[in-house]
């Protein structure tokens, strides 16, 4: 069969599965959320029952649950309209996502670049200077980076970088300086992991015959490492970028709060806590879609990079 047709077929099949998964996740979240006590209009100053009914009518919550489900699902699936947010009444869910996503994406991209930069550099140095103080130092740092929870890292870095060195502002969003610290904290565990992957990959490659040949040809060590060895060693790192991207985009709830970054992570938790049914559902769908798309992209890129992998 034509390889292009084959690829399209695989992609189409994946797409079908993605939609099915999305629907299952959506349905499950919809009913699970309604089963939890409390509602979007609950507050310590209770509204009179008459006004409570008016509020429910405004969001069609006076209808039977199956009808609400069909209405919301139709709007979401057909028109990509998740309805108005119930706790941020001035916005629709789509507007909230449209404002939050670019912020999360910005933070994610900077973090990913930092992670790659630091991780790969440390990994290469560790592998080349194996069993030296550099190797031990970087690998110790990597272990710490993976083990230390991000809020501890954030607090420490605020004390050190904000209050002692006075290099960047403590929190907020709107400039590169403000993005730097949260991005570093997001990046740390990923950088650590990438460093270990790179080191392992390099060690394997450095023992291969073609590297020995390259040295024997009289090439400069720098050329051998950067041009020949790194290319072979980078594969595991590339395959890790996919899940890392998904993880970075979804997983910075705590950091967004500490550094007051208006990204999507904290919307998710807050929406669920405040029973903002529509916003929470929108978030669930976006995150699920993001994860599925990232995984698919990674699988596709495997097939491109590594000839041994066949798409199925």
């Amino acid at each position: 069969m034509n390889p292009l047709v084959e690829t399209l077929l695989v992609v189409g099949k994946r797409l079908g599965w993605m939609l099915l998964t999305l629907w299952v996740v959506y349905t499950f979240s919809f009913f699970l959320m309604r089963a939890v006590p409390g509602g979007p209009f609950a507050s310590d100053k209770k509204v009179p029952p008459a006004i409570q009914r008016q509020l429910e009518a405004r969001y069609h919550m006076d209808e039977p649950l199956p009808m609400q489900y069909v209405r919301h699902l139709t709007n979401a699936a057909v028109f990509f309209d998740f309805g108005p947010s119930m706790r941020m009444e001035d916005y629709t869910v789509n507007e909230v996502i449209a404002q939050g996503f670019p912020v999360s994406a910005t933070l994610g991209i900077i973090a990913l670049v930092l992670a790659l930069l630091f991780g790969m550099t440390a990994g290469v140095i560790s592998a080349v200077r194996r069993n030296t103080i550099f190797d031990f130092g970087f690998m110790l740092l990597a272990t710490v980076g993976i083990a230390v929870p991000n809020f501890v890292l954030a607090s420490l870095s605020i004390i050190l970088i904000v209050f002692w060195l006075q290099l960047v502002p403590a929190a907020g969003w709107g400039s590169i300086q403000q993005a730097l610290l949260p991005a570093l904290c997001v990046a740390a565990p990923y950088a650590a992991y990438i460093a270990r992957l790179t080191r392992a990959g390099m060690l394997e490659v450095l023992n291969l015959d073609y590297i020995r040949t390259a040295y024997a040809k009289g090439l400069a060590p720098r050329t051998v490492i950067v041009k020949h060895a790194l290319r072979g060693a980078i594969l595991p790192v590339v395959s890790y970028i996919g899940p890392a991207t998904a993880g970075i985009l979804t997983g910075s709830l705590v950091l967004e709060r500490i550094f007051n970054v208006p990204g999507m992570g904290s919307f998710f938790i807050d929406a669920a806590m405040q029973r903002d049914y529509t916003l929470a559902l929108g978030m669930v769908v976006v995150y699920t879609a993001l994860l599925l798309v990232m995984n698919t992209l990674v699988d596709l890129s495997y097939a491109i990079i590594d000839p041994r992998v066949k798409m199925e």
Binding site: E89, Y91, G172
Partner: protein, 667 residues
Amino acid sequence: MSHPVRKAFPWLAIALGLAALTWALAFERLPTADFTYDNGNEIQTADPAKATGQPEHRVLNALFEGLLRSMPPERWQDKFAPGENVPMTPEPAMAERYEVSPDGLTYTFHLRKDAQWSNGESVMAEDFAWSWRRTLHPETAGKYAYQLYYLKGGEEYNTAHVDVGTEVEVELPTRRDPLQPFPRGTLLLGKVEEIRKGAKPTVPADASDEQKERIEAKWKDQWVYFVRLASIRRSGWDRARHRFRKGDLMAVSKDPEQSQFIYAGGTLRALHILPDFESTVGVKAESTQKLVVTLKAPTPFFNELVAFYPYFPVNRRCVEDHGSPNWTKPENMVCNGPFTMEFRRIRDRIRFVKNPLYWDAYNVRLETVDALVVRSETTTLNMFLDDQIDWGTQIPVSMLPTIKKRLGTQFKTAPELTVYFYRINTTRPGLDNPLVRRALNLAIDKKNICDVVTQAGDMPATAVVPPGLPGYTSATGSEFNPEAARKLLEEAGYPGGQGLPEVEIMYNDLDIHKTIAERVQQLWRENLGIKTRLRGIEWNSYLSAQDKLDYSVCRAGWVGDYPDPNTFLDMWTSTSGQNQTGWKSKPFDQLIAEAGREDDPQKRLQMLHDAEQILLDESPILPIYWRVSKNLVKPHVQGWFLNAQDTHPLNLIWIDKHVRDAAGVRR
């Protein structure tokens, strides 16, 4: 996979990465505002008809203005010490003066001639009448609509309470946009001559209150109203061209499909059947500058209420053109306060700019203000220490001792109109006995809780109503007395706690509530021999459990809506939704109702005092402490003062640049 694709892939990936990074690093530089403060959580809405809450209060006070505005006395700086609460009173704002009729029922407000909207139109009496109508309209679904129930007919309009003989406005489904209650469809005005209700549906015996209400509401929708038509106000979007004549008797219903079983003659579908606003609700624009307001009962704190945001006006044209909620977008919003909204970023900030058309713009000294959304107290503290904000409204309680020591006078604190208390479920066996409840109250060492647990300078609450309300002395409560508590418990038949069913303290799981609950648990065990369990649950579940009386003891707090004891007392009547204790007292209800009708201020306060005494004697709630306000304010912030409501009008604040520069503030 073909060779060229594989070869190009790394380069493509790198190019993509670089493009993404370039996009990510392109930040739009934002000029720093004159004044930046932490406004707490994201506001729910900037619509005065729908908002509730403290962050919303600060934002709405900056953007809008009511007939009156709460202001400190002239030259307050000279009259009050720095650590003292400055009393705030409602001063002329959109209204330049007002008169009250001798019976206290009619308020006549005279609007100032130079009052303008931010689009240059004049603010007129009709704007208020229309805005209040919108706030009370059932479809607006304002959570604070009940704050307008003090108006004559306000509650009836909001709850669509219509009887035979009521003048009504019947809205036909002929709106421009069916989802927007304003602009409205064709209105038929007339008098109800008959209501045919049909058989009342049978409610299953095991139905919850909510289900019962729902069944009842559905039934009410089927009612057929016979209305004698007096006049018609046709909407511009009415294409139906109904042929109505004055004097016709019309049959209308909100649910014509179902109502045909009640009346077979055919009914006209109505979106709303409400009491006629203009003839039944006590607000009338007599001229462009004169607004006459009629109240249900003399309400001595009504001047405080008109300074409160549910009473703020909105611009009719703006709301009708853009619809709700789109009119609140910064590019659409028309407002009448000291500031306008330049932009709003979700979970980031609202940027205010001075409104040059504001009548008192001369005295507004800040050009730009940033109201930041900050969701963590620690972040607030960090930003304050790092000079990123000039005023912080959230303080990490665990850090208080350090903050007090290190920041000195930048930490501002004073008594606030807030009480922290425990609700008791008086329907539970054991707790249904007032003696037991009083024993529980006497066994709590509140001073110890304030000194050791909260550590903020909160005051042990001996009564319910916080001190500091002019003219009011709280009822006499009781001090910590374990001896008397034990005696009361014995009297109740539970000597040494023997035989008393286990008590459980429920709270929403925050550290501060947990620590207090643990302390109370210990005090009850030591002083009364009572075993207590603790149940910390998540906020919404806690609210729901409290509402369903699914608890034995639970923590709660109440912030006064207006500076009057009534706001702390009328919530405990048998019919109040805030009661949530199962406690009912006829004499208490009667006192509150009478106080609401009393026009002599002295007598009224005495009645409220007596009511509070009943509340304390019966102890359905255990007041623990009166909270103090906690703020962090930089020394260069001027015009910021302490007050019992913990409100700090942005229009009075200014920056002393000399102090700021001398302190070396990095900006």
